[in-house]
Symmetry: C2
Subunit: 457 residues, 2 copies
């Protein structure tokens, strides 16, 4: 639509500056010292929704961080799209690896560098600006609802309760989320599946106090060594996960599906070069795309124990810790796999130490049917603005709330992601390409248009 | 000697209060922020030497922390005893496990609780007070020299240079050190051997940046997992160390020696109960005392990598680190074993990661001949004040500088240790029993007396 194009190019710079303001707020949900920043960010998002044209916007307190809700109901007979996003971000550490402050956004080589630039402030903000575009050009073809939450990066512990309490308010026809990546602007793609997640913390306790490694070394189980042996035992020589029952519920992809997936462009040398590794690593018998898409994985996200400071300390520590998470695929469930994981971890603890494993958070995997209206509408929108139809891919990340929406609201989710795998999500120097940001704002209105049309048919 | 006893009981409380003052100085050599405290502590030690009766005392700067030297030459024809000690202490963390401030010494149940109470402020201070006793009672039977250094806990990196430069100043007949433990006041013992040490830091690097564990998990080597596998591979199922050549130079003890050692009282249930463990752990085929005395060991002293903060972060980290040290026994050498260890660690690194291993510090193992004059003098001194002759034992700790004294000054060392294994060296709530402190002050003058007599014969 010409009107959209004009409005957007006229307001291009303002759209960007508004996003940069949002990125300056260190809304780190995992760090309690950022409570005030979280509140400030929620307030800002509410204001932006009203400015963009929402009839009403409200901040709903939860027992954690608040959810920002906004809506514009144009016509009850029109379909309603519920846009989900999150205003919280991952902790920025290690800080020393950032080229510029994680919360002092800079534009370099047409990219926005900041924590949250892509995950997810930059992406949900595209929806607010697309919404504004449609409002200002009187071309809203759907009713719109927004929920922008503040606890996605810590597992949305309070979202289920919120949805339960606001079931009526959240009534809609589809969930629209931009919190994923596409292959590239040249090769657009749509995530049709996301992996589930189970995340635990393990505490291994040996002696009841830190010991002198000279006086006791060699006679007492060292919890670090034991934890290392436990972690080492979780993958076999083919990098299959050794946990009994781990693969039981995995929905194996058939050869046709794998062939379809194999069409996604992939250059192993480029991939290795980008990561700076000489060799790749992974489950034998699967390609890189399969390892990150259709296979469950187990990664150690953090480990610590003993003396980690400057210099040397000859200590045999009392405790060692690890954070371990698994990515899950259909039809695994987070609840069951967490139980399987914890049970196994505790079962392999040798005598001489005690092991405590506790759950952090999780989410179930999710698949979007490619023959669904929401997928078709999204595909057509991308075709319109990219000039080619998107490749359906299985993303590696997890968006646990999709299964929540399905079970509690009976709604399907479509992932209209405009990020790139190279955006350094959860890493230093997270970025979002300006081209992707603007392409998203340009594409989203078409989704609403086509979704309304297809629903209408 | 009656005069000694009287003088000591008259000044008992002052001796203790002087030590407490010394313990209030946080002289942590491993932490650069304590530079000023180190200087302050050196100054204090120098003052105490002069007050005790040294003809001269001096602070010698090194390229690290200074060495405090003091001496009293009574008669060039008399033998000279060089007392070694160290005024630096181990870092106190984890702080939360201390019942009272590590540098706010308290007396509880007739024990002094503070970092350095036993290792080594409490023990070298016994020598200063024993020295004072002999001076004040005009009963010095030897010339005395003191070197109290400030870098023992970080491997005495500058001591060799100091000794080389001060060779003449340090001329003596024997080195006397109290930096070890005895079995108990009821079962006195003398360490006739200490283990050597090699200490390295390992850095494993996978991808060139922290990655999103969802986007990349399962396709890239996780440095934590790799480090865990490397550490796990260092001990086999019998807890033998698997490093090729690790045991090549080990001087195996014969059955007579092992039988002699087995005489040391040992109660496994008590041992386990004290440590709060259900099972012990160690090299198959050896007793606990052998594992900590005559066998080389490998312990992980610290490990860290990825996200170790509050909450959950789904990161696949770029780097993982570990501090690993080995205790060495005759005839292993620190230089060779460090090389063997580093070479092995680097050799087992799989493709997909790069590994850097660097040396922290080390020291060679040492043995005191039980038929030497210094041992005989020490044994007789203990017999005099304890009423029973000591058991010769092999200590598990390392006092690397002994081999320095041997090679650079041609001097044998005798370990007259009055600590206990239960003193929590290098751990929270380090303590030193008042009874041991006073027993040490009482015993040391007899060593000088008997050593002079035996030398005279």
């Amino acid at each position: 639509m010409q009107a959209w194009k004009e409005y957007q190019s006229k307001n291009k710079d303002r759209f960007l500056n508004e996003l940069l303001e949002l990125l300056r707020i260190p809304s780190i949900s995992a760090r309690s010292e950022h409570k005030a920043d979280m509140k400030k960010c929620a307030e800002a998002v509410k204001e932006r929704l009203l400015q963009a044209g929402a009839d009403k916007a409200e901040i709903f307190e939860t027992s954690g961080y608040p959810v920002v809700y906004g809506e514009k109901m144009v016509d009850p007979t029109k379909p309603t799209v519920l846009v989900y996003g999150h205003y919280d971000v991952q902790p920025p550490d290690p800080l020393e690896l950032w080229h510029s402050g994680p919360f002092e956004p800079v534009i370099k080589d047409d990219k926005i560098y900041a924590r949250g630039a892509c995950d997810d402030k930059g992406q949900f903000y595209m929806h607010i600006k697309a919404f504004e575009t449609m409002v200002q050009t009187n071309s809203l073809s759907t009713n719109l609802k927004f929920i922008i939450e503040g606890e996605e990066e810590v597992g949305s512990p309070n979202l289920a309760t919120f949805i339960k309490e606001k079931k009526d308010m959240l009534k809609a026809d589809v969930i629209l989320i931009s919190d994923t990546a596409m292959l590239s602007l040249q090769t657009p793609s749509i995530d049709v599946g996301v992996r589930g997640l189970t995340y635990i913390e393990v505490e291994v306790t040996g002696p009841n106090r830190d010991l002198h490694s000279g006086v006791y070394g060699g006679a007492v189980a060292n919890p670090i060594t034991i934890l290392a042996k436990m972690i080492a035992s979780l993958h076999d020589e083919n990098n299959h996960i050794t946990i009994p029952g781990f693969y039981d519920d995995v929905l194996e992809s058939n050869d046709t599906e794998r062939a379809e997936m194999a069409k996604a462009p992939y250059d192993e040398d480029e991939y290795k070069q980008d990561l700076g590794v000489k060799e790749l690593w992974g489950e034998k018998g699967y390609t890189t795309n399969e390892r990150t898409g259709i296979r469950p994985t187990l990664e150690v996200n953090g480990i610590w124990g003993g003396y980690t400071g400057e210099g040397a300390k000859t200590v045999l520590p009392s405790k060692a810790f690890a954070k371990i998470s698994c990515r899950l695929v259909p039809n695994q469930t987070s609840a069951k796999m967490t139980e399987v994981l914890i049970k196994h971890i505790e079962s392999i603890a040798p005598g001489g130490v005690s092991v405590k494993a506790s759950e952090h958070h999780g989410g179930d995997p999710y698949l979007t049917p490619v023959d669904s209206i929401e997928y078709q509408a999204a595909a057509k929108a991308i075709e319109t603005t990219f000039g080619k139809s998107p490749i359906p891919v299985r993303g590696g990340g997890s968006i646990p709330i999709t299964s929540l929406f399905q079970s509690m609201l009976g709604l399907k989710t479509v992932f209209l992601g405009f990020g790139l795998d190279s955006d350094n999500l959860h890493s230093p120097n997270e970025k979002f390409d300006l081209a992707n940001f603007y392409k998203g704002i340009e594409t989203i209105p078409y989704f609403h248009k086509y979704f309304a049309e297809m629903k209408g048919d």
